[in-house]
Symmetry: C2
Subunit: 221 residues, 2 copies
């Protein structure tokens, strides 16, 4: 027997897909400016050049807007992380590995302030909190895999904690990264890499050079 709860299966036109992208773009901007709770659905529609009715033709409710936006971010993150967390980078020396992983993530977060706004909001509804988890797990699991390759002898529990703490350290510096101007950014990113180097180095390279505190080479030269 056919499924009673099946979706009405409506065909989407090219117009509709485009509208959805415009609405998600507008939602990202408003979320970034006002935060999720204070963002108005009418303002989102207006910024997308649409009416409230049109908005609710594509999204069941306000939460669904943020969920769809999150799904779009996760898809884009997978592409960005496909480069940043390529298995080959696990074999690189730690400084190079940090360059290859952190730079793309910094670029992504700065290019998508709406993503940062949703991820850093601790008071979302349970459904939205669930929508955040794939993005959280993405970075954590990929880093965990790299650590497993680099330090196969490290107990899984310690490795997992190390990956989790490393992610949180990065997130702690994200406010500085997000609010920095273009010319302030290199110094902060360098500092971020030093922090993670100092934290990760003794845990995965037990007998490497103990520090690199005066390392000041910039990005991409």
């Amino acid at each position: 027997m056919p499924d009673d709860t099946a979706k009405p299966e409506r065909k989407r036109q090219a117009r509709g897909e485009k509208r959805i992208e415009e609405l998600l773009d507008a939602a990202a901007a408003v979320f970034a400016e006002r935060g999720y709770k204070a963002a108005g659905t009418n303002e989102i529609a207006r910024r997308a050049g649409a009416s409230p009715g049109t908005l609710y033709q594509f999204f069941q409710n306000k939460d669904a807007i943020a969920e769809a936006l999150m799904a779009r971010y996760v898809a884009r993150l997978r592409a960005a992380h496909g480069e940043a967390f390529d298995p080959a980078v696990a074999e690189l020396p730690l400084p190079e590995m940090l360059d290859r992983t952190i730079d793309p993530v910094v670029a992504f977060d700065r290019a998508n302030p709406g993503f940062y706004a949703l991820m850093s909001d601790p008071h979302l509804s349970p459904e939205l909190a669930g929508a955040k988890k794939p993005a959280q797990k993405l970075m954590f699991q990929r880093l965990d895999q790299i650590l497993e390759r680099r330090a196969p002898d490290l107990p899984a529990e310690q490795r997992t904690r190390t990956a989790e703490v490393a992610v949180h350290l990065f997130r702690g510096l994200l406010p500085l990264i997000m609010s920095a101007t273009e010319d302030e950014l290199p110094a902060i990113v360098t500092e971020t890499k030093e922090v993670l180097f100092n934290y990760l180095s003794p845990r995965i390279d037990p007998d490497a050079t103990p520090q690199r505190n005066t390392r000041t080479r910039g990005q991409g030269d």
Copy 2:
């Protein structure tokens, strides 16, 4: 001539002071649960066992509630930091200094989830954002002073950046610290201290032992 804009100078009874404390306690709880924007003033009043009218007899508007709450937190922080950032701790070895500074701050944050809720909200009104700054500067400046004592030769600019980054690293781990159970807490606090040790050590003790990654002694023995 007398100031036209002077306040009406109303005398506050003991009842009133007590009510204010109750209202601030309720506000802290609701802010922590729902976040500032989603917290309702009627719910705050109800939880304090008061009516909306009573609430607005003591606070001009919703923002003023959060501002008064912040002021109360700052006063309590000054007391806690008076111990945590006593000038004497600047002379202690780095591990002991971290014990003396981090433990009280962790205890304060965990005992005051409303403080954490307001401080971590990036979408408050400009007035409320201004009310946050004293609390932000408190920790930063005291740490900056300690660093100045310990590393007098370090350029002020580098020292300031180091203090700022150290505070952000701590804040990055705060979500883990806040959500931990009592028995998970010691391990996370130890990890926090290791992170800050690894970060601060090469910057203020240029020729000390380079790492202490397997240090596992608990709190307060």
